[in-house]
Symmetry: C2
Subunit: 236 residues, 2 copies
Amino acid sequence: MVEQTKSAAVNTSDRMSAEERRDDLINIALDLLRESGMEAITIGAVAELAGVTRTLVYKHFANRQDVINAVYQREAAKLHVTIRDRVVEATGFEGRLRAFVDAIIGAVDTHGWLFSPAESQTHEAGFRTEQAGRDRRTVREFAKLAGAEFGLSLREATSAMGILLSGLTSLRLQAHVLTSEADRAALAALYVDLVMAALKGLASGEGHYKGDTETSPGGASGDAAPDQPSPPPGAR
Amino acid sequence: MVEQTKSAAVNTSDRMSAEERRDDLINIALDLLRESGMEAITIGAVAELAGVTRTLVYKHFANRQDVINAVYQREAAKLHVTIRDRVVEATGFEGRLRAFVDAIIGAVDTHGWLFSPAESQTHEAGFRTEQAGRDRRTVREFAKLAGAEFGLSLREATSAMGILLSGLTSLRLQAHVLTSEADRAALAALYVDLVMAALKGLASGEGHYKGDTETSPGGASGDAAPDQPSPPPGAR
């Protein structure tokens, strides 16, 4: 059974505001999801654990899919803030990238369900749009730092960071199957090294890419281009 | 209306083998999809364009979703073969990577629908498993080449290539919004340069990653790790 640590207010239903009640129901659904997976979230199970009627649950959510969406939406936003806080505490491009990657790997165990490809299918369009927006902002922020650090145009840096941050999808999947801290640390170091070397190489101009001339953007300008893929690179 | 170029055999239904008939119905569904999107694929529309009864269509497909799945499955497999052929014609790690990237960018216009995140949601599990398998093989093949070229262990090379090939998801999205050939060529060069510089940097051992010792795999060994994400990196 699911412990009701987060829904201790079971018998105080009438004292909860609508917002508190909704949040409490989401907490219960989250417990169910963590304990037994998404399938365990039903209106009936949530109502029973909250000690309220199904009718009351239906006052807050249209149906079970709406409850599931609310859990994913709230938790993804929370995780995004947590990761962001850790990133802004760090300094410099490499420092922030490292903090970002460490935070993502740290979230693999606690928030893996949030990024499971199987479940991501069920996410509603609104949720996916929000995620894509967060990813775009992440790319943009790292692109600014990388541009300044490596002397790249913002377009080049945005294109390159879009590509390199997409690699986090694979990094998360790889981290997921690693159990030792040492292995995960090695994976984080490998990823950061790849990104640093890639950007240094790009800045050196030694490859085939001939810089950001009028007719050769790296592809990514402003809002249009590096729309990150729906299944998150782990960036939330 | 959809032209019936691929289903000219409309009035020869009795002379088609079951396999030919199924393939013909898939061709019609593909025309509908290209012309008007996935929603246009219905049993009725396919039957009408094929000049056969709905009952006959139902002999080959359980329902419209089954038709849609068959289109995606067949076309993804075909595209994979096309891309593969272009890759094996090239030589060396960089040459093959370049051929691979060019082929993917070339498919953005013709097969963009195959990789659209919105539609990828509807793919059945079997289809996604097939795609993931193709991605894994792609990672493995490039990892072998990269390992030999840069003196990396297969584990390191597999982990690195898993991360770097994931970047193709972003590359495809960036290529999609570029219209000029020059811009697309610049994007391809940028991507190949990033990968080459990243692997060279990793091989130099100058970063924080301290090589593939007993306790520090890059994370990816054998089949377990770099399970590519469901939404394809464009690698099919």
